[in-house]
Symmetry: C2
Subunit: 347 residues, 2 copies
């Protein structure tokens, strides 16, 4: 199986074994067409036999390219419900591995200056091939920094500055929220409120737009709306306000599961039943959404597709593919659970 105990097998050893020069082995591995079929076969057999794997450090040194893709993790805020970044990281890593890349993690304290410094350091030190950004926003310093360095990158989150040159993959929050709104409207709700984020948030604005579109499509009023921080407590208070209104909401479409869970808490405090009395929807399909009683209707992001697409884009970029910047907008999937359905709460 593994005839070599340790002592990494190198090109030269394979070459000796196959009775050719090191360069020919290199060619057999990287440019098969340059090598005569018979020789190639013999070499590949040797590679197999000896368990040769090219040394990436040497390759990186020689080629100035490491097949490393960098991604910066961020603290898992425990007051948020969403596992999105965890799932994203897994999906991204799986896609990277499939395409022959490795993911290297970057660490920086909060603040884009720190982050940019960390990127630059990593770049100098390791010749990473590309970066993946997440949670981009308007006037994102990271984008301009990476662009000014000429480093390939792709982002999970569209380029909000109308920057056509950036490859990105995003999930259509507007379409998702509209779908949620139309879903509750289809259950007969006419007073549909929206609890979202402040206007500074591009993502929040998109989701609010979706709710507006959903309401307008059915000629429903859109006076019940709140723009609050993404915390459970903020959602709870906003829900109370909308239920205290003279013409209270019978459905609340939220910009996140966290906010929706705040709504559920408010309903609980008022002795109202989610679904039966007030329909509630969230966004992100966090684990919590499936675990609360009744289950929370929410929007699921096709995160594995996002990962694959980003790697795909980076692959194109690195290959110098002419049809360069790709822009991919994916539809989230509405997951209907008890919180938006009338009748006895079901799971």
């Amino acid at each position: 199986m593994a005839p070599v105990p340790h002592g990494h097998v190198t090109l030269v050893q394979v070459a000796r074994w196959a009775g050719v020069s090191a360069q020919t082995v290199s060619n057999a591995v990287n440019n098969p067409e340059r090598v005569a079929p018979a020789t190639r076969e013999r070499i590949l057999a040797a590679v197999e036999e000896l368990g040769y794997e090219p040394n990436l450090s040497a390759r990186a040194l020689r080629n100035r390219s490491s097949s490393l893709i960098a991604f910066k993790t961020r603290p898992a805020r425990t007051d948020k419900a969403s596992l999105l970044m965890d799932e994203f990281l897994y999906a991204l890593n799986a896609a990277a591995a499939e395409a022959g890349y490795h993911l290297i993690l970057c660490h920086a304290e909060d603040g884009s200056a720190n982050e940019i410094k960390a990127y630059r350091d990593l770049l100098k030190k390791t010749s990473v091939d590309a970066f993946v950004l997440a949670e981009t926003h308007r006037n994102d310093d990271r984008v301009s920094a990476l662009r000014s360095w000429g480093v390939p990158f792709a982002s999970f989150g569209r380029s909000w500055d109308g920057d056509e040159a950036t490859s990105w993959v995003d999930v259509d929050g507007r379409a998702g929220t509209r779908a949620a709104t139309e879903h509750v409207a289809a259950q007969g709700h006419r007073r549909i409120g929206h609890i979202g984020w402040p206007a500074e948030s591009e993502i929040g604005s998109e989701r609010r737009e979706g709710w507006l579109e959903g309401c307008r499509g059915r000629e429903l009023e859109t006076d019940l709306q709140a723009a609050v921080a993404d915390t459970l407590e903020a959602g709870r208070q906003a829900a109370h306000r909308m239920l205290d209104s003279s013409r209270p909401a019978t459905a609340l479409v939220c910009a996140s599961d966290t906010l929706a869970l705040g709504v559920l808490r408010a309903l609980h405090e008022r002795g109202l039943r989610p679904g039966a009395d007030v329909a509630v929807t969230g966004f992100d399909d966090s684990p919590t959404a499936a675990l609360v009683s009744p289950g929370l209707t929410t929007l699921h992001q096709p995160i594995d597709v996002v990962g694959r697409q980003l790697i795909q884009s980076i692959d194109n970029l690195l290959a110098g593919d002419p049809r360069d910047p790709q822009h991919v907008l994916l539809e989230p999937e509405l997951i209907v659970r008890g919180s938006s359905l009338p009748g006895p709460p079901r799971q």
Copy 2:
């Protein structure tokens, strides 16, 4: 600020700038004591001025050591409440960065054979310095593989085989569960049930032991116990059984937040109030625990300490530190919320 636009700065350039040889620059950076103070100062100024960062690929090639630590991500199971691995990854990466390492992610489909293959490939290709394992279990193939290759590693999760040679960091599930049990006993509960995992799970067994110890310390009966899969549905059903008993439980101590959420669902179905009617506790302090109503009493794992300790251990290992394998058992912290307190549910 950055006088060099791109074109990585190398040792030789710094050397030229400072009027010394490349080796002297290398020494100034890595072995300051070998260089005369005045020269050192001049060189470090040049390093600063030119923004020199050592190229890790070249270093890895030369030294056969990359300052890379590998960690395998696993799929984020969306039916689980816990963000533990997400938080862990962040903590580990932060600690690694602080100590001058980088985290490289490893991908493998489920199954320890795949995982071991992935480890071996990574090792051959990148000369990673060390591995971090998580969720170790009895007869863990990964441990024997890594040991047989002579690769340094440390694990989050103790070595269940009584293997003294492995460095590990773990959280004391037994002490945690005992604390939870004693906490509900202190609220006056006398019929305390336990919903945990099957005996194959070492972690589950530890937690069950903690409950047993807590009960025995107060001479309470221990007949109400269940060993089930870690799903919400299993927790729900187990709770129903224990509440259908002729002498039903008034408190349920669970091995995970997921199970505890199943219990909450069962209570909801029965019209019982968590805390007031039946005390419930979980384990892991998942985001969900803080977000449900009432909040779920649970045990918080000091995950940042785990990360730092693991990197510390690896650092020692790599330094060839003689006081080699470190074993660190940390206490989880009991977070008391409404689900285990009598009276009106509070948050």
